[in-house]
């Protein structure tokens, strides 16, 4: 049984089959936000990659936004409030 390892060595005569590529592409497709429920719907690899790029960009943006909001949260936490006490005890673990 051919192994599923696709870590190619430096002998780049790839043993990677088109089937393996398709499998990886459909795995990516399943991770996208509006992944089709039916497994039969075939989206082109090009489209999957395109949407993956958009998805990654939006995730990067979310990290930026959430960092901003968390920064505000840390700043606004009043030293005596109940939330501050909870936050402190959570973070001190």
């Amino acid at each position: 049984m051919s192994s599923r390892r696709s870590h190619s060595r430096h002998s780049s005569a790839s043993r990677i089959t088109e089937e393996e590529i398709n499998e990886l592409v459909s795995k990516l497709q399943m991770m996208l936000p509006d992944a089709p429920i039916s497994r039969n719907s075939r989206v082109s690899a090009r489209k999957v990659l395109q949407e993956t790029c958009s998805y990654i960009r939006s995730l990067h943006q979310e990290v930026d936004d959430l960092s901003e909001k968390l920064s505000e949260l840390l700043a606004s936490t009043d030293t005596d409030s109940a939330e501050a006490a909870i936050l402190r005890s959570l973070l001190m673990q």
Partner: protein, 135 residues
């Protein structure tokens, strides 16, 4: 664990005195987010996580306020240019995934899947924290 690492980093940032400016703290949190992703046990063996850590360290060594990262020497491996069977979109993906430029197409797809999963987990973690303390 990704969550633990991030919480510990947040704790350090929260305790910092004197209190940093808002923009500096935002940068630190963002830095902690990506560092936590790279350090999570699942991903520490991945090429993208090593590349990401490398990039983060480079950024830290620069003077604060400089936004551009200077690429000194990323890898010895020459970047793999598009092969005929590779979709043109792979080039953009290579730029988005840390370390993507040196990867074989097949590895790129695998690494992308792992990277996306880590990104999602990090976003969910941060959102959960915000929700927990913003009510």
């Amino acid at each position: 664990m990704q969550a633990l690492h991030f919480l510990q980093a947040l704790a350090r940032i929260a305790r910092a005195a004197p209190k940093p400016a808002h923009s500096a703290r935002t940068r630190q949190i963002r830095h902690a987010a990506y560092a936590s992703m790279a350090h999570s046990s699942r991903s520490s063996r991945r090429t993208w996580s090593r590349a990401l850590l490398h990039r983060l360290r480079q950024r830290q060594q620069q003077r604060p306020g400089r936004l551009l990262t200077v690429r000194r020497r990323v890898r010895i491996v020459t970047p793999i240019t598009s092969r005929p069977e590779e979709p043109a979109r792979a080039e953009t993906l290579r730029q988005l995934v840390p370390g993507g430029r040196g990867m074989e197409y097949c590895n790129l797809l695998e690494e992308t899947a792992d990277y996306v999963q880590c990104l999602r987990a990090q976003v969910q973690l941060m959102q959960t924290l915000l929700d927990a303390f913003s009510s």
